[in-house]
C-alpha cells in the first residue's frame, strides 16, 4: 500500500540528512506544514461558523422542538422550527435519486468492466469522467424546463406532478450521480484480480455468473463506497432541489409529486434574501447547516472506511 512506500522514503531521507541539517530544507518543511494546516483550519472554521449561531439558535428554540416538530416556518408570522419537513424532503429526493442511479450506475460499471472490449472502455471511461463535471445548475435547469414538462404531459392521471416537485429533482439528481457511481464501482471491479475470474470460469461458470457472483461480491466494499458517496452528494446537493424541488416546508410532504424544500434548498432560499444578522432566521440557516454537516460527516466516515478496505484487499 501507499503508506508503506512513502514511509520508506521519509525514513531513508531522514537517515541521510541526519548530522547536517540544511537551512533550506527546514524552511521548506515549515512552509509545507503551514500549507497542510490550511485544511485543518478549514475544518475548524466550518465548525466555528456553524457552532456559534447554532448555539444561539438552540437558546431560543428547544432541541426537542427542532428534532420532533413537523412544521418549519421561519418566514411565516406563526413561526415553527421543526426540522422534520426538511429532512423528509431530503430523504425523498435522495431515495428517488438512488433508485435511478444505483441500478444504472452499477449496470454501466458491470458492462464497462466485464463486457466492453478494451477499446470501447478506453473511449467511454474518459467520457464518463467528463460528464461527471457537468455543473449542477445545469441539471436543475433541465429538470425544471425539459424533464418536468415531459413528465406532466405523459402523466396518466389528472393530478399530475406540480411545477416544482421532488420526483423530478430526484430524477435529475439520479442522472447526475450515475457517472460518480459508475466510475468508482468500475474502478473497484477492475481491481478484482483476474485469477478470481479465471477460477470461476474453470468451474464452468458463465459470464453472468462470474459478473454477479464473483466480481460484484469481490468489489462490494468499493460499490458500497460509491453508493454512500452518491447518498452524500444527493443529501448535500443544492442547486437541483433549489431550482426544481419546490419550497413547501410547513408540513411533511411524503408525496414526491409535490414540491418541498430540502435542507439545502432552505439554506439557499433563505440566504438569497436579505436576512438580518443575529436574527433567529439567520441562526436557523446555521442550525440546519450543522445538521447537514453532521449527516454528511457520518456518511463520509462510512465511505472512507469502505474505500480503504477495498484498497487494502487487492492493491
Amino acid at each position: 500500500m501507499s503508506t508503506s512506500t512513502s514511509n520508506a522514503g521519509s525514513a531513508a531521507g531522514s537517515a541521510l540528512r541526519r548530522g547536517r541539517r540544511r537551512p533550506v530544507d527546514s524552511t521548506v518543511k515549515v512552509l509545507l506544514v503551514a500549507a497542510a494546516l490550511v485544511s485543518v483550519a478549514t475544518t475548524i472554521g466550518i465548525v466555528i461558523a456553524l457552532a456559534q449561531p447554532t448555539v444561539g439558535f438552540f437558546q431560543q428554540v428547544s432541541i426537542v422542538e427542532f428534532v420532533t416538530g413537523t412544521s418549519w416556518t421561519p418566514t411565516f408570522a406563526q413561526k415553527a422550527y421543526g426540522v422534520l419537513p426538511l429532512v423528509a424532503a431530503t430523504l425523498t429526493v435522495t431515495g428517488v435519486a438512488l433508485t435511478i442511479a444505483v441500478p444504472l450506475g452499477l449496470g454501466s460499471a458491470i458492462y464497462l468492466s466485464e463486457y466492453a472490449n478494451p477499446r470501447t472502455r478506453k473511449v467511454l471511461k474518459p467520457i464518463i469522467e467528463l460528464l461527471a463535471g457537468v455543473p449542477t445548475v445545469v441539471y436543475g435547469f433541465v429538470a425544471l424546463f425539459a424533464l418536468n414538462p415531459l413528465l406532466q404531459r405523459w402523466w396518466p392521471t389528472d393530478n399530475g406532478p406540480a411545477f416544482q416537485n421532488l420526483l423530478i429533482a430526484g430524477i435529475a439528481m439520479g442522472i447526475m450521480i450515475v457517472p460518480t457511481i459508475a466510475s468508482i464501482s468500475e474502478d473497484s471491479m477492475a481491481a478484482v484480480p483476474r485469477s478470481l475470474r479465471e477460477g470461476a470460469y474453470a468451474l464452468a461458470s458463465t459470464k453472468m455468473q462470474v459478473s454477479t457472483r464473483v466480481v460484484v461480491p469481490a468489489a462490494m466494499s468499493g460499490i458500497v463506497a460509491a453508493v454512500v458517496l452518491g447518498i452524500s452528494r444527493a443529501v448535500g446537493e443544492t442547486m437541483i432541489v433549489t431550482i426544481a424541488g419546490g419550497l413547501t416546508s410547513d408540513r411533511i410532504v411524503l408525496n414526491p409529486l409535490e414540491g418541498a424544500a430540502t435542507m439545502t434548498a432552505f439554506i439557499a432560499n433563505i440566504s438569497s434574501g436579505d436576512i438580518p444578522v443575529g436574527s433567529l432566521d439567520y441562526d436557523s440557516v446555521f442550525a440546519v447547516g450543522a445538521l447537514l454537516f453532521l449527516i454528511t460527516f457520518a456518511l463520509n466516515a462510512v465511505s472512507i472506511r469502505m474505500v480503504r478496505r477495498f484498497r487494502e484487499v487487492y492493491e
Partner: protein, 306 residues
C-alpha cells in the same frame, strides 16, 4: 498492442476468455443480462446527452456575441440586448484567484503528506482523514463558512476575494488528493538515486519527484478549477444573487459569476430568460467541458508509466 499501458495490463482481460466460453452455447439468460447491462449504460448517458442537446437547441438563438459583449438585465423589456458579460468576467476573476490561492497550498500540502509526513503519527493520519472528509462536505457548507467567518468575522464582505477564498477551500481537497496520487506514482528508485548522488531531501523533491509528477498535478488542478467554475451553491449563500451590470475592478469589488447568473435567470418566469439561461449554460458547459477534456487528455497523453 506493442506497448501495453498499465491500465490495460492490470485490467483482467476477461472479455476475451469469457467470449470464448459463451460463444458456443449462448444461453438466453446470458444474452439478456448482457443487454440489460448495456442498456443501463445507454439509458444513463443517452438521457444525459439528449438533455445537453436540448439545452443547446433551447439556447441556440442566444449563442452570439451578445452573450459576452452585453450586460445582464433585470428588465424583461431590455432582454433582447442582454448578455452575461459581467458574469463571464466575474468567473474569470474568481477562477484566476482560485488558481493563485488554491494550487500552491494544495500542491505544498500534498508534498508534505507524501514526502515529509510520518504516516505512523496520529496527527498526520488525522490530517489525512480531515482532507478526505473535507472532500465530501457539501459545497453549501463552504458557503456558510464563507458567510460566517470570511465575509462577516474577517470583514471581507461579499466580494470577489471572499468568493475566491471560499471556492479555493472547497476544491483544495481535489488538488491535494490528485497531487498525492501523482507524487505516489513516482517510483522510490528515482528518489534513492537522487539521494545516492548526494541530493538533499528538498533537492530530490523539487528536481526529481515534482517534474515527474507534473502531468498528474496538472490534471488534478484543471479538474479542480473546472469544478470551482461550475459551483453555484456557496456563492448563493454569499449573497451573489442580484443583477450586477458592471465588471469587477478589484479584489473588493462586487461580482456575479456564470452559474449564479444562470440561477438568477432561471428564477425569472419569462421564457426569454429561459432562452438566455440556456445560452449562458452552453457557454458555461463549453468552458467546463473544454477544461475537463484538456485535463483528461493531459493525463492520458503525458502521464509517465514507470
Amino acid at each position: 498492442m506493442s506497448t501495453p499501458t498499465i491500465t490495460t495490463e492490470t485490467r483482467p482481460d476477461s472479455s476475451a476468455s469469457g467470449d470464448a466460453l459463451t460463444q458456443r452455447r449462448s444461453r438466453p439468460g446470458e444474452v439478456a443480462f448482457r443487454l440489460a447491462m448495456q442498456a443501463c449504460l445507454l439509458i444513463a448517458f443517452g438521457v444525459l446527452a439528449a438533455l445537453l442537446t436540448w439545452v443547446l437547441v433551447k439556447g441556440w438563438n442566444r449563442l452570439d456575441s451578445r452573450l459576452w459583449t452585453e450586460m445582464p438585465t433585470g428588465l424583461a423589456s431590455r432582454l433582447d440586448g442582454a448578455g452575461v458579460q459581467s458574469a463571464l468576467v466575474g468567473t474569470l476573476w474568481i477562477i484566476s484567484l482560485v488558481a493563485l490561492i488554491c494550487l500552491p497550498i494544495g500542491i505544498l500540502s500534498a508534498i508534505y503528506l507524501e514526502e515529509y509526513a510520518d504516516n505512523t503519527r496520529w496527527y498526520n493520519r488525522l490530517l489525512e482523514l480531515n482532507i478526505q472528509n473535507l472532500a465530501g462536505v457539501p459545497s453549501i457548507i463552504f458557503g456558510i463558512l464563507g458567510l460566517g467567518i470570511i465575509a462577516r468575522a474577517l470583514g471581507l464582505g461579499f466580494t470577489v476575494i471572499t468568493a475566491a477564498i471560499v471556492l479555493s477551500l472547497l476544491v483544495l481537497p481535489v488538488v491535494i488528493i490528485a497531487t498525492r496520487e501523482a507524487i505516489r506514482a513516482v517510483p522510490q528508485s528515482i528518489r534513492h538515486a537522487s539521494y545516492a548522488l548526494g541530493a538533499t531531501k528538498w533537492q530530490t523533491v523539487s528536481r526529481q519527484v515534482l517534474p515527474s509528477a507534473v502531468p498528474g498535478i496538472a490534471t488534478g488542478s484543471i479538474l479542480a478549477l473546472s469544478r470551482a467554475i461550475g459551483e453555484a451553491a456557496p456563492l448563493i449563500v454569499l449573497g451573489a444573487v442580484t443583477f450586477i451590470t458592471f465588471n469587477p475592478d478589484g479584489l473588493d469589488s462586487g461580482y456575479t459569476a456564470l452559474p449564479i447568473q444562470i440561477y438568477t435567470f432561471i428564477t425569472r418566469s419569462q421564457s426569454e430568460y429561459t432562452e438566455l439561461a440556456a445560452g449562458a449554460i452552453v457557454l458555461l458547459l463549453a468552458i467546463v467541458l473544454a477544461m475537463n477534456s484538456i485535463a483528461i487528455f493531459v493525463r492520458n497523453r503525458f502521464e509517465k508509466r514507470w
